[in-house]
Assembly symmetry: C6
Homo-oligomer: 280 residues x 6
């Protein structure tokens, strides 16, 4: 980053947090993009705004509003508001950085962005349960606001199902199924033991118990998301209204709107993917 | 489209709507074809009719009447009339643009064409249910008119089954099976999470519940289609009669024939494939 | 066909009907073969007989009598007579053109040839049921005449099973299983919908219901074939006798033998494969 | 066969029957081999004996006695005697040409050779049942003579199981499973119908019914073979004794030994493979 | 190791034990690395400390502290303390050499290292049960200290499941399933028997019995680990405290802390992998 | 073997019996190795001892004692003693040639070598049952001597399971499952019949019956081995003691130790693999 002038206002910690997982090439590309944006705006140095926009572009594709119908915009607004409110109200989750209903790139009609305060290497069972509630928060908001559900939650369902299944089959987090790995062997990184079996497949009976547990875990998270959103129905309507009006709501505005929520305990945060693509 | 002269009568919005999904090459090909047709008819400019015919040719193969027997033409006429009437009578569906029993290209003996008023990115559960009823409307009309069913509905059944299965396994639209993804992982476009499991397969017990739900959803849609067509039996007979007489019936004529139907709420329309190949 | 002289007696409609499905090369080959046969017989022009023989050669291999035992010839004669009588007595089937017990080419020890009066694009449930009875007519005749069954019906069973299975899984013709596709996705020719799932597999429970339905449909057809042949036992014996005596019986002779049968309603005919290889 | 002198004693019909299925190259090789053998024996012409030996060599590998123990020779002798007596006593089977306990080539420790009197194209259910009894005759003889069974029958069991399974799944010869094909589609030779499904798989329930039927058919054949051999116990002991003494017993000697058996109805013969490798 | 000067303090037996399984190249690399480390520290000869560090680097990647949160460090400390205490208290296990919560290389956030006193070629059923308890000791400690479980035990669960499954399917150590191999055939090294079947798959019923046994064995080991740690709760807290303070605790310090434990019977030791990556 | 001088003491029949299955290259290698060993020992000719050692080297890898612990040596000694005593006491088995607890090559920690007196082509059901008891004799001895089992029997279990499964699925030796092949088709060497089905798979129900039978057969053999060893407990302890003392015990010494055992009926011997690798 030598030949590019960075404005003092740029908080590299935020930039870094938002680009967790970027490869070297992505980062180089990011700086170029930000410098270019600053140049176009005749700025003497790259500012935080330029970085933010450059990150947005790289992650979610070039900004390009889709011609969504008013009805669809309302659905997307409530969907994202649902994600954002559950993420803010439940404890131990990363703070919401931004909510947007500007459609971008492939699939995403809106997004709710959470930024972890620090790297996380471990997640507890309750962390994962909260994360599931956040993922199902979008669909739950649609149910509450429209008494209807749409195809927009399919990516959320897929990711939530993957997490719930891993809780049962890899992390031993289902009491019914116990401290057993049911997911075959994915290879430890540096040690091969003589015990490693290639047969990870289990019986039909076990497969059924896994299905029942996965469904139960998701059902609990769904109920939790609906409970939060019903209690915060006013916040939900207001946030959706603001999204429809302004398209983007920043995390601070959301926090002001919500009033007191559980403290964001840094150590308890969960690295939800930096960007939750919301409706896909 | 520079060197081709377009007549002022051409409504490019209609052309555009009918060619949704066309690749660049298809569009270039379309303009060529339309210009060629206009040239053959010694017209000074390409008219709407030329575009319409060019689109028809490209989509469904060159126009070539098949020597269908009278009996088969009657079956096809009722089949398409069934699609068209259900599509017009149920709410929130794209308006019918044209109905035809002129066989074309591979497989299609007729078609019912719906044109969406605008792009759609989300579909609700009720939208999809209506769409299923449209797909089963062809077969239902055959049952009502002939107390017999033919092989002509097999493509409709396949598409309807695909949609119903997606409702259950991807969109979480079955209350019995809940907000769970049962369809494995098809890869999100730009984010890999550490939770992604490659095991999307579920137990036999779950597979059976899915089958039961898919069958129930299709059975409901079938009943809905039959209900609509029994109530509109006169319209069905009249539309089939006109198709047998004229081979093609335009959307406006259909609307006049049907009289008042639910308003076409633009926001509620469902992008049924531009062309419903009907009997295949 | 320019340089070949065709006798006026040749009914090209019959030639055409018998060669449905021939590729261009096959047709060219046919004319050559017919011209050659006529030349060998010192005829000034190619006659219908030459065409008939050329078609026979191309379709079923060069005429080459096999040294079948008398016992086998009797079995084949009854087998083909069974196909032919069921095909003639049940309504809405293509008229029988010729019956032969001259073994040819691969597998076929005899054949019953039906020629459709026109192209067919749709088949009704009752058409298919009649076709199944025709296919099981050969085996049924063996049962009635010899109280014994042979390996000769295996190809008939296979084709009948394929049709019955398609009725249940693709055409929605089983009331028990409903208007659902159970056969996965074979790809529509020109449209890919976003709903297309690659998972066409169903549960064991559904697989069992399909098996039960397929077996029921075939059992009904088997009973129907046996009913027809028991009622026409005299015709069956007489036709088998004539086949043993003459090896080939033409459709007209069969019709005279059978006396009044249901009218061949052109629109109701079913395009059974042009040649039913009978015993394979 | 021009430059090779054939003795008048050679019955080419027998040679031909024994070499059914030989390719052209095999036949050329046979004549060479026979001529060579005759030359080595300083004969002016190739005699039947030379042909017989040449056929034996080509089919079963070069003659090479294995050092079997006396106990094993006794087992093999009874095993082959069992095949031969069942093949001779049951009706409608090809006559036994030769029985040998000279081990040859791969796997075979002895063999029973049947030669069909003419080509066969069809087999009836009773023909196949007799054939199964012949195949299980070797094992049955071991059971009767030694009250013990050996690994030597495994190839017989495999072939018998294949036939019994085909009776149930391909030939519709199980009343319980009916006239249905359960074996998927192996492709008809010259006609593709639009009904051909690639899904030949059936449900678990059907698979179980098939297993039960296959086991029942084999159990019946096993009992039949044991019944025959118990009734002919004296013949069995005598034939085994002669085999141990002479290693090879010709068909005529066997027929003399057995006395009157059911007439060998040429039309009823079953083309058991020319050579039954017996103990493998 | 000729040109490298080794300090007399180096115990090559320890080095050798810790590098069991190293290939020649790894060993060469190890000596280089140790020499390099000694050189950087201006030492005249390579000391034990250099070897220890070089081994650590090669095995677990270059030393690089991760910025774990305090909460995560506490979890990792208890997790490793759990492994170490169970490994020390249960009989017949290899002595603990070192415990560390310094994150290294791929996946491992900490490790507990056991060093076998000699090579082992056989393991008894009780040896394996103790090993399972060690593997589940990390998770058990988390449960006891935090009443919560984390994703950090997933690698432990996988390895424990592999061992338990091998006990049931390969070693015949489940009385319920008996002295039977249920794991197919992995090929004996130097002998192929004629009995080798490629079908190692068993029935669903057997698969279910295996699952039940595997789960039971793991559940017993889990209970054993929890029993040990509850009895040693004071030791657990103290060891975790020291790990948080010093990051690394040597085996001798652990032994002093624990006081009398069962004698380390060399012959009874179990070669747990040299390095137990603990939390991954 | 021309240029190598063989001492008159060499019994080539023994050499030959021990090298059954050797390829030409192996034999050449054997002679070289034996000559080399003799040369190193300054012998004028290759003696039996040299051949014995050369065979040992080639078969089981170069002689290289492993540093087994005393405890492991005791386990291996009892394990091999178990194999050897069951092999000597049960009738119709090949005589034991040598027992060794010198670890060699890959996997084998000891071995019991049986040498067949002659080639065998057939095995009876009782032969195979005895062979299973021999294979399970090692594990049984561990159970009796230590009331514990080790991982050392896994190769024995695998081979025993393969044999038991073949008895049920290929040799028709289970009365419950009858004279049926359940193992699909492995191809007969020189004849393809028209009945060969590629579907060898059976139903779940049949798979379960097979599992039950395989387990029953192995359980019976296990009990038989334990019965023999309990009755010969003194011999077992004594043989193990001598193995620990001398590492190798010859067959003659074993026979003297055991006293009268069933006669080794040459014809009844079973070609257990020349070398039973025992503990692997």
């Amino acid at each position: 980053m030598k030949t590019v002038k960075i404005a003092p206002s740029v908080d590299l910690k935020i930039v870094s947090a938002r680009t967790a997982g970027f490869a070297g090439a992505d980062l180089a590309n990011l700086v170029n993009e930000a410098a270019l944006l600053a140049a176009r705006r005749d700025k003497p140095a790259v500012e935080m705004k330029d970085f933010d926009e450059a990150i947005d572009r790289i992650i979610a594709g070039l900004e390009k509003k889709r011609a969504m119908s008013d009805k669809e915009r309302r659905i997307v607004a409530y969907h994202e508001a649902g994600h954002a409110i559950v993420a803010s109200v439940l404890p131990n989750l990363d703070p919401v950085h931004k909510i947007s209903i500007i459609g971008r790139g492939f699939g995403a009609l809106g997004y709710t962005m959470q930024v972890p305060l620090e790297d996380r290497y471990l997640m507890s069972r309750s962390d994962l349960k909260s994360q599931l509630a956040v993922l199902l928060g979008g669909r739950s908001a649609e149910e509450i606001a429209f008494a209807e559900i749409s195809t927009g939650a399919s990516n959320d369902l897929q990711r939530a199902t993957d997490i719930a299944r891993s809780m049962v089959t890899e992390y031993g987090m289902s009491d019914a199924l116990g401290a057993v790995n049911y997911d075959g062997h994915r290879g430890s990184k540096f040690l091969d033991t003589p015990f490693m079996s290639e047969r990870g497949s289990h019986s039909e009976d076990t497969a059924q118990q896994i299905d029942v547990e996965v469904k139960r875990i998701l059902s609990d998270a769904h109920n939790e998301a609906r409970r939060v959103l019903r209690e915060r129905r006013d916040n939900l309507d207001e946030l959706a209204r603001r999204l429809l009006e302004k398209e983007v709501v920043e995390g601070d505005e959301l926090r002001t709107l919500l009033g007191p929520t559980p403290p964001k305990d840094a150590e308890g945060t969960v690295p939800v993917d930096v960007i939750d693509p919301g409706v896909a």
